[in-house]
Symmetry: C2
Subunit: 321 residues, 2 copies
Amino acid sequence: MTISKVLRGQADISDATKARVLKRVKELKYIPNISASSLRTGQTRTMGLILPILGEPDLGQVAAGIDHALNEAGYSLVICSSQNDAEIEQRQIEALISLQMDALLIVSTQETTAFFKQEQRIKRSPIIFVDNKPSGTVKHYVGIHEEEVGRVACAHLIGCGCKRVAYLRGPRTVVGDLRSSGYRQGLSDHRLPLLPELLVDNTGSGEPDYTRGYDAMQKLLRRRVPPEGVMAYNDVMAVGAMDAARLHGVRIPEEMCFIGCGNDEQACQMGMPLSSIDIAGQEVGHKAGRLAIRMVASGRKAQTHKVLVTPKLVKRLSSQI
Amino acid sequence: MTISKVLRGQADISDATKARVLKRVKELKYIPNISASSLRTGQTRTMGLILPILGEPDLGQVAAGIDHALNEAGYSLVICSSQNDAEIEQRQIEALISLQMDALLIVSTQETTAFFKQEQRIKRSPIIFVDNKPSGTVKHYVGIHEEEVGRVACAHLIGCGCKRVAYLRGPRTVVGDLRSSGYRQGLSDHRLPLLPELLVDNTGSGEPDYTRGYDAMQKLLRRRVPPEGVMAYNDVMAVGAMDAARLHGVRIPEEMCFIGCGNDEQACQMGMPLSSIDIAGQEVGHKAGRLAIRMVASGRKAQTHKVLVTPKLVKRLSSQI
DNA sequence: ATGAAAGCGCTAACAT
DNA sequence: ATGTTAGCGCTTTCAT
């Protein structure tokens, strides 16, 4: 059909017919059938993203970043959820391949990559891991520099004059370990000793939430010499810690500085404005999207790509010097 | 092909060949091409959901509910975002139709339905509005009974013995107005007068956040007779209000009861466990998903469907009698 | 500048 | 119980 050519903007059509076609297309509210098109071209100009959970603000940022990057290049994004379940993740991968997505982006819930080794070959669709790298070798990965997260937070508190910096650790995951190791680096960068009593590990307590931060802080306050700076795995824990400190009569930030992580809009504005490390979800997503596009454009000839985004310090009242 | 029949579970295949085919399918990691299939059958067994924003916990619940309902019936769900923009919403609708989704579910950002009037006819794909009904006539809608939200919260506080119940109003949207009107109903149900001074309207202040709740509460505390119960548009506002009250020396719940709305896990566990109205996002989503399935199964012969889900009261310490 | 023919992967209907 | 034929809506190639 001539119509197909017009719609794809081929040159060899007279302006007259072009206008005539477009007019009729509008009238009929014609919407092309991508399925049919993909059957011929092998392209849908749509990519799929799998998230471990929906409604998580951080992941929402990542998704938004990917979306922007794709839209800029004329691609669309569709999202689905693995519900934090490896088996469902697997099913979703197949569903998206089945829908002929040009590329897959995954915030994986898997711990190892064994599973994917075989998967990658399934189709020429590139798979890009985002935000959460399963331990093991992975072809394409874009995420945050998690160690840097801990290092920057620690350096900031030290810069605020804190000699004794405490860390309220998060869960025993890859991310948790990296941030914790960044904390240690931050200390040694400034030739400060790592005091075991200041590294509060709340294992077993489950989620890194308000209560966990609160309890951890109480533990710290019982020491003979309290810390001068406190950093937490995430913002909610930091808020819990601040509340515990304030109830204990500690003045913030004069006597004690705090910094969280995640730059959660809500948590950072609860009474005491909380300094935080911005995880730059948007940027991670955008870079991942760009990579995916390059991948399909180059016919996958690119080898291996790893991108680490640098986190950003956001200063607020809780650590004002 | 015989293979096609095996994969679709047709009966007229011997167990021997069936097994042989399935084995080879596994080996080759064959994944069927839904695009091609849909071209023939007109079905993808996939539905599309458009959300105004990604990473919003409430909407995540709704999406999860839809997902469950669809999976139960062997359908898949893909999600995309309208970024709260009517034009993008329009583009996403077309993108999803283009992908041959069997039905569309939309948490719309539109205020009126004029826009959709034409749209509905575009294809036989049913469109179901979820959670947020644009004012005007809409064919299929599933959402929460927003007036009931306000009524139940109000009734609960009155049940706690509060004679003077204050309401910290939300934004001037359809939802905000309905909840507020529910508050009024709750009062009149119990033959209590509506005291204008207890209905705190914080127009202009922007988002219904912590600060807004805090400020609104301070306003209330300056009155000669303070309220005995306080309900807020959402949980964060309630938390802000509780903090303001506590800083003012008010004991919760002995002297003043509080209830929020949304049953936000995080906000409800910040120090003082906050009673809340659960918006039942999961259930709304599930019902919407069920409706969508019925829609496509019945070949759209169903006329008009409106479902209102009843919100649920969650009692916590902030309103313990 | 326009259109006719063929085929992408699949399945409904019909042989065998 | 298995295989054959035709066609879904589109695009690529090749006439005209």
